[in-house]
Symmetry: C2
Subunit: 585 residues, 2 copies
Amino acid sequence: MTDYTPPQKDMAFLLNDVIGLGGIPAAADLDAETIDAILGEAGKLARDVLAPLNHTGDQVGNVLKDGVLTTPPGFRDAYKHYAEGGWNAVPFDPDFGGQGLPWVVAFPVMEMWQAANMSFGLCPLLNQGAVEAIHSHGSDELKAAYLEKLISGEWTGTMNLTEPQAGSDLSAITTRAVKQADGSYKITGQKIFITYGEHDWADNIIHLVLARTPDAPEGVKGISLFIVPKFILDENGNPGARNDVKCVGIEHKLGIHASPTCTMQYGDAGGAVGYLVGAENEGLKYMFTMMNNARLCVGLQGVAVADRATQAAIDYAKGRVQGRALSGAGDRVAIIHHPDVVRMILSMKAQVEAGRAMAYEAARALDLAHAGDKAAQARVDFLTPIVKSWCTDMAVRVTSIGVQIHGGMGFIEETGAAQYYRDARILPIYEGTNGIQAADLAFRKILRDGGAAAQAWMDDMDGVCTRLDAANQNGLKDLGAALKSNVVALRTATTALVQSGANDPDRVGAIDAPFLHAFGTVSGAAMMARRALAAQNDTVDAAFRATQMDMATFYFTHILPEADAALKVVSHGADVVTGFDIARL
Amino acid sequence: MTDYTPPQKDMAFLLNDVIGLGGIPAAADLDAETIDAILGEAGKLARDVLAPLNHTGDQVGNVLKDGVLTTPPGFRDAYKHYAEGGWNAVPFDPDFGGQGLPWVVAFPVMEMWQAANMSFGLCPLLNQGAVEAIHSHGSDELKAAYLEKLISGEWTGTMNLTEPQAGSDLSAITTRAVKQADGSYKITGQKIFITYGEHDWADNIIHLVLARTPDAPEGVKGISLFIVPKFILDENGNPGARNDVKCVGIEHKLGIHASPTCTMQYGDAGGAVGYLVGAENEGLKYMFTMMNNARLCVGLQGVAVADRATQAAIDYAKGRVQGRALSGAGDRVAIIHHPDVVRMILSMKAQVEAGRAMAYEAARALDLAHAGDKAAQARVDFLTPIVKSWCTDMAVRVTSIGVQIHGGMGFIEETGAAQYYRDARILPIYEGTNGIQAADLAFRKILRDGGAAAQAWMDDMDGVCTRLDAANQNGLKDLGAALKSNVVALRTATTALVQSGANDPDRVGAIDAPFLHAFGTVSGAAMMARRALAAQNDTVDAAFRATQMDMATFYFTHILPEADAALKVVSHGADVVTGFDIARL
């Protein structure tokens, strides 16, 4: 098992030099030293407390017996450590005990939890969505009752969306909520795939549950959002009577074994007590408050697990002696000396670095949007499906390369490479499958605004091209020319989508996934170029400057060609899909 | 769990109409009806006996206790059924009880075992290598003693190559073999990752072991091959005294849980009795006899598990109702009606069909080579690394799409989608990692003969272009033009490799993997075009004809663009890899 080394230097470089914190009110008081201090402390917790539990958590998993769920050894204590350190409160409203740090700082912190131990990190990730939903849409009474403890980490929050017949399609939800005389609701139904629906870390679990009132309109317009606490609060606001909700099963999964995936049964004894968040029938809108946040964070999980896999692969490649150098008959060498292994490692590293930069860029837009910047809101809306999909597809590819670099040992569970590969596989699925993300990008984020947000992002990429072209270095100028031609191709594809898309949604659906892949791949190139540009200002560390330039060059020569291939699919690949007679399958 | 439906029609179409059996002596007596009968019977065994054990085998795995290995329930009986049916003997020499069928027929039969139950299929796959090695290089005495029972399946054979310090690099082998007065050898050492090194299916296990005599030259020139039976044969040729070899551990793996991966200890009690195969120090050459066969079969495993995953995904997509059609507000539909899902399914199916055709094409070359055709030997040598790598990388991609189509259920082990994904991940690793294959292709199969075998294969692809261009159908003509431009690009890349490669092996090593990927992807396109051409002759089944044309069109528009992207990496991607200072990692 390889240790986790938090990539603090890269994180600080992105925040301070590549992306920048300018214009973010919550970052006004943050200087580079403070950021270093935060990242350093988070890094210690991630490295020393969470990372060592990752493998045992995977091997031991959770045990559910008589409704009581026991998490793997060490997790409960680690959570206490994490909550007591104030880490759960990082991005939240100081009025409720939060630390009020900007998302662009919360993201690298969150990345460390996810890289160290993705199963652990899922609880805070989901909790974050619950906090956001209550904070944005809950009454003052609900906020007063729940927010402080969800922010401190004394309690944890969950998202209860999925039902057996309602996964990607939430219109099919059947869980019922019947209003009672006291204004509360009785909730009845079953939810599946509920992450940390039950556990032994906290005194209460606050479920955010999508359900339908008896007279609600059909489909997504009739969904409401409820708070259903595991323990109903007593008159002092403390956990009191057990609510009528229980975990009746946990899933046997491919990965994230230490994260309990629960089947939650509501109302077996007459109905669980729930409290309406906001107004009836507005639940889907509120759900997206939770979901959008979570989607970006899932993209970040992709970056995190891919980084962990990359670190493990580099470590293994340095230590594993096998074969001789191609260009000589010298001694046997560590496999990191073989060019094909170097290629694989650089491929992992370049994709992680591109993804990390994209995710943080989206977090910056989120901060600006929270401060009221409408263009920034459009930006984060636009980038969300790209970050979610591209970074998670990337995580599957990168963790697979990680297994490959380990050779036969990669297939043996003891090395951990296989765990990253298994854990990563959930990422393109949950919080909206990547197919859903591709449709979201094409239909909601591009067709609805006529491509305005997309064009604005491409304008920014053109700005990067201009800076590259103006640079006093041929390598950067070359990147500029390559990026430019890719942005031109993206614009052509986007314009074609806008012109024809509304009339033929099936054709859009047939190519929206490769369209998203092209957008993500070119966006990653722009971020890698921005890294290389920013590194030129580092006059101290020549090796760092050279590495940033090499990584950008690697990305442009090895990864960026995929964008062109994907755009060929976009141009020529729709007809054969829409024309195929599925009766022949 | 989805049933396995053997793709008998596609297999017969490939054998009879696309690839053809002309010129293969062993196929002289085979007509289409006989082939159908063989495939039909094999299909029944695969579907009814082996496939139902796949999931339980994965879940239960093997148990090793006090040196005794117990395989999962049902496997032992299934093997008996398989061996008694004569299936183990399919491709082997009738002089030793084999059925003497050509490899091109044995391949679809083998594909069925692997698709039904890859863990089961590994035992016959490895046994095949053992039979080939003894048949090609063993003395008459060894042949007489071992071949018949290894062919009937009464005994099974293994390949003992890997040691902890000697994986891809067999030069580092340290297992010792000391000659005894009676001509036998005492074998001492440890082998790891030995597939079916121990099990409870057969009366004897015949290990083929690479080891080093005391006075052997260093490196690969000092390796010899030995037969080490689990039970030493008595004077009647029956299993007698227990040999000094035992299984001391089995691995905890990502996949193929039902296939025992054993650590074998030789000589704890003074030395296991072994018998030299062929001459001393010629072991590596003999090993390649086993290995080349196994490499093609591993490519075939990739086709098999990818096909199984595709069948499961189609089945799930037909049954899973979720969402409404993009182009209307009608009822909820099965997800197979969503264009993005159709795209994913066609991507799986197209890659499986291309891989299957490539693997069978290689098998045909193998048959012609066995009949003494030297060009065919060069062809199979050339295609082996391509089939091994391309089909196994494809299997990882395709089984991943299979998980994705299942959505959240794909991550739950009960559906089986996750098992295919886990099982497939070994394929790019064992029998020579895909990195080793890429080096084999570039250095041994192209640079050594100046690209002659590669050019011959591209000449054949040009012939396909000519046939496509001559076809009386615009769709086929379009495929011809696209294939032509890709072959031209491949020729350019091959010529560049030949011209510069010998002088700069590091630069070749930096791009040999994308080079192989491009070759495989274009070769797959040629095979898909040949399918479409052959289907034109089917005047009866219009749907089949249309499907072949659609699948070729899909491959050309969705998969083939990867070749161009890979060739860009080949052209521009070497310098950044060879120039990267690995001390910075």
